[in-house]
């Protein structure tokens, strides 16, 4: 056993022939959903960090975060954007892990049908 050599073929390839058309179709469906989730979260990322924290920060600064002394633009730049960034990655983990689980079931079904 030599666990040191870099894996030349992606491990698990023997279980999944990536040229199988049904697997390819499943992967491309998975990939499209993945792209949608990623783009959606990146848009929120840009709105929180770049738009609220910077581009319209001067205008947001004319109001305060309710009940506090924080001008809103300043709050976004030094607190809000960071909190939103953490939540965005959390949302990504939850979305993607669910998508992965669904994709996994799909592959299992294909494999069972092929085996039977």
């Amino acid at each position: 056993m030599n666990d040191a050599s870099p894996p030349t073929a992606p491990p698990g390839e023997e279980r999944f022939d990536i040229h199988d058309p049904r697997l390819r179709e499943s992967l491309s469906r998975y990939w499209r959903t993945n792209i949608k989730i990623t783009l959606f979260l990146l848009v929120l990322w840009a709105i929180a960090g770049l738009v609220c924290g910077i581009l319209i920060a001067d205008r947001l600064n004319t109001v305060h975060l309710p009940g506090t002394g924080y001008p809103l633009g300043f709050w976004f730049a030094q607190q809000g954007s960071i909190i939103i960034f953490v939540l965005l990655i959390l949302a990504y983990c939850l979305f993607m892990n669910r998508l992965d689980a669904r994709h996994h079931e799909e592959l299992e079904r294909i494999r069972r049908e092929k085996g039977s």
């Binding site: 056993m1 030599n2 666990d3 040191a4 050599s5 870099p6 894996p7 992606p10 491990p11 698990g12 390839e13 023997e14 279980r15 999944f16 990536i18 390819r24 992967l27 998975y30 990939w31 993945n34 990623t38 979260l41 990146l42 990322w45 960090g49 770049l50 924290g53 910077i54 581009l55 920060a57 001067d58 600064n61 975060l65 506090t68 002394g69 924080y70 001008p71 633009g73 300043f74 709050w75 730049a77 030094q78 607190q79 954007s81 960071i82 909190i83 960034f85 953490v86 965005l88 990655i89 959390l90 990504y92 983990c93 993607m96 892990n97 992965d100 994709h103 996994h104 592959l107």
Partner: protein, 617 residues
């Protein structure tokens, strides 16, 4: 016990702990050495990434920067956290699925080119050395300030510790030491912040305290919001208002460009990316990105509060005070030259933005020069300007207005009148921050040279034992070189940190993202794109920083684009060149397309299905 005894105690305990961890996690394989055997749990990897990421600069200097910059300090906060979203969404899970050891590995394999690999190796080594020199210096500075040992001896002690745990345990030793270092540094940062928040606003959460009213006992009036009061004091003294956006050279375009360059640069920094190679699965890579930003945000959400609290204490504690009334923290940091007071003859201290400012710092002045300035200034005062010279004018001419930014974090415990042991804890925290970042960077240097350069490009026949020996030797040499850079800092180090982010943004980020999200981009466009991005970014920074070229405006900002933000344009050029050339160049071969497919496919990997680990194999 005094501060010094406590500091020796804490530094002794934490350093012994790091060594014990190093011994327990020593490794015998290259996989263990480079990627910790890919068995690090997501939560632990998150903490290790946090410690890896938060450097001596984040720990000691960042709050001070924000304190002096006000709103614009947010570029560092947003830039150094926003990058993790890009990393989590665009890079981490895919690179983990790819499953090799280094960033140049991915670039070299995906674009099937030794040239691409070589360019990536060069960038990885350059970025890491730029960064690590500053860390070693940070270790020396903390030692000299708290333990009164010579800066150079401090660097040597720090080097010895890193040398032991990095060569013994490689990535595995570094990872578990970083987990311990995370807790040391975050405790050291949070305790003074919470204490000063309670004292100033009565809120235990600094993030709430920053938006709250000042305790009437401190302000002398009720219902005044801290930030409003701070704005008013700042304006009275001629500074710009603390929460005001886009002041001076920080116009909207520059704030946007610098924040974006730091974000993209963060996502492209090799020592951060490799952390995601060390976990068990794609799922764990995602979770560890979440935990990493979560743990990092604990410090980054607290730093702006510390910054504003300390700014308030600084302005109210010094202005209008006589020598007897000055706070204790002033006297203890006055000795180190981080803050100086040159009176104009009225016997009252004044810290303002105008010509009447009396608060300065020593900066890089020699002790002898400073004494001359003090003596001349005293003569100038005694003779009412007939003899001697105004020390304030000469310090102002050298750009040494105001206290050193490091004082904000270093003096906060004393401003809050905390016990000696907490001040000592800050020393241990600063060392943890510097050592953890240094070790992560040294590992990248070692893996780039020993794995990418030696094994993949020079001697592909090398045995496991040879490769491990080369890895250990290189990391040992890198520690020594980094230490020498810390002892004899080349003057340009602090100026070229912008390089690290700029190059990472202009080289790695576009190449990796396109490598994953496009199957069409081939070798030639990718290499041309990287070279264009690197070439442009390097040219602009070198020309601006070393040859006083006026920053270019690009028709966007009258001020010209700050060299710190130029990585954004470098990145855009990289994307444009790569995508522009792609239609005219060959498609990647079937093997590469299959590789991209397998990187996208979340299934079919993990230790359980690795053939060589399977039972009976």
């Amino acid at each position: 016990m005094g501060v010094k005894e406590w500091t020796y105690l804490f530094v002794g305990i934490t350093f012994s702990a790091y060594l014990v961890i190093a011994w327990l996690s020593r490794v015998q394989t290259t996989k263990g050495f480079y990627v910790a055997g890919q068995g690090v749990p997501a939560l632990a990897n998150g903490m290790a990434t946090g410690a890896d990421w938060m450097s001596a600069a984040s720990f000691i200097s960042m709050a001070g920067l924000i304190s002096a910059m006000g709103y614009a300090g947010g570029v560092y906060l947003m830039g150094w956290t926003g990058g993790y979203v890009l990393l989590a969404l665009l890079l981490a899970p895919y690179l983990r699925k790819f499953g090799h050891y280094t960033v140049p590995d991915f670039i070299g394999d995906r674009y099937d080119s030794s040239w691409a690999r070589l360019v990536a190796v060069f960038c990885a080594i350059f970025i890491s050395f730029t960064y690590v020199a500053g860390q070693m210096r940070g270790v020396g500075v903390v030692f000299s300030r708290f333990l009164e040992v010579d800066v150079n001896q401090g660097v040597v002690i720090g080097m010895a510790i890193v040398f032991i745990y990095a060569t013994l345990g490689g990535m595995k030793g570094i990872t578990w030491t970083q987990v311990a270092q995370y807790w040391v540094l975050i405790t050291a940062f949070l305790i003074p912040a919470i204490a000063i928040s309670i004292k100033l606003t009565g809120n235990a959460l600094p993030q709430v305290g920053l938006g709250a009213t000042i305790d009437p006992g401190v302000a002398g009036q009720t219902g005044v919001f801290l930030l409003e009061k701070l704005n008013q004091i700042q304006q009275d003294l001629g500074f710009s208002s603390y929460t005001d956006t886009f002041v001076g050279k920080w116009d909207k375009v520059n704030v946007l460009f610098v924040a974006l360059a730091l974000m993209v640069g963060t996502a492209g920094l090799p020592h951060v990316i490799v952390r995601f190679y060390t976990v068990k699965s794609v799922k764990a890579a995602r979770w560890s990105a979440f935990w990493a930003l979560f743990f990092i945000s604990l410090l980054y959400l607290t730093a702006p509060a510390t910054a504003a609290f300390a700014r308030y204490y600084m302005l109210t504690g010094l202005n209008g005070k006589t020598a007897e009334e000055l706070p204790l923290w002033f006297n203890s940091w006055n000795k180190t030259g981080l803050v100086l007071w040159l009176d104009d003859g009225d016997g009252l201290a004044r810290f303002s933005a105008g010509e009447d400012n009396e608060i300065f710092r020593k900066g890089k002045l020699q002790e002898a020069e400073l004494i001359t300035i003090h003596v001349d200034h005293q003569k100038w005062l005694d003779t009412k300007g007939v003899q001697g010279s105004d020390g304030r004018a000469s310090l102002r001419a050298r750009g040494l207005n105001g206290p050193d930014r490091d004082i904000i974090v270093l003096a906060t415990p004393e401003m809050a009148e905390l016990a000696n042991w907490i001040i000592a804890l800050v020393a241990a925290g600063g060392l943890a921050a510097a050592l953890s970042t240094a070790s992560g960077l040294l590992l990248v240097i070692s893996s780039s040279v020993a794995h990418d350069l030696y094994y993949r490009l020079i001697n592909q026949e090398a045995t496991e034992r040879q490769r491990l020996a080369v890895g250990r030797t290189v990391i040992g040499l890198a520690v020594v070189v980094a230490g020498l850079l810390g002892i004899y800092p080349p003057g340009f180090v602090s100026q070229v940190v912008a390089f690290a982010f700029g190059l990472a943004a202009a080289s790695f980020f576009p190449a990796i993202v396109l490598g994953i999200f496009s199957k069409r981009v081939g070798t030639v466009p990718a290499v041309c794109g990287m070279l264009t991005g690197i070439g442009f970014t390097a040219f602009y920074i070198i020309a601006c920083v070393f040859f006083d070229m006026a920053p270019w405006t690009f028709g966007l900002s009258d001020q010209g684009i700050n060299p710190q933000g130029i990585g954004v344009i470098g990145m855009a050029l990289n994307f444009a060149v790569t995508l522009g050339l792609t239609p005219f160049c060959a498609r990647p071969g079937q093997a590469i397309v299959d590789m991209v497919d397998s990187v996208r496919e979340p299934e079919g990997f993990g230790p359980a299905v690795v053939l060589e680990d399977a039972p009976g194999h």
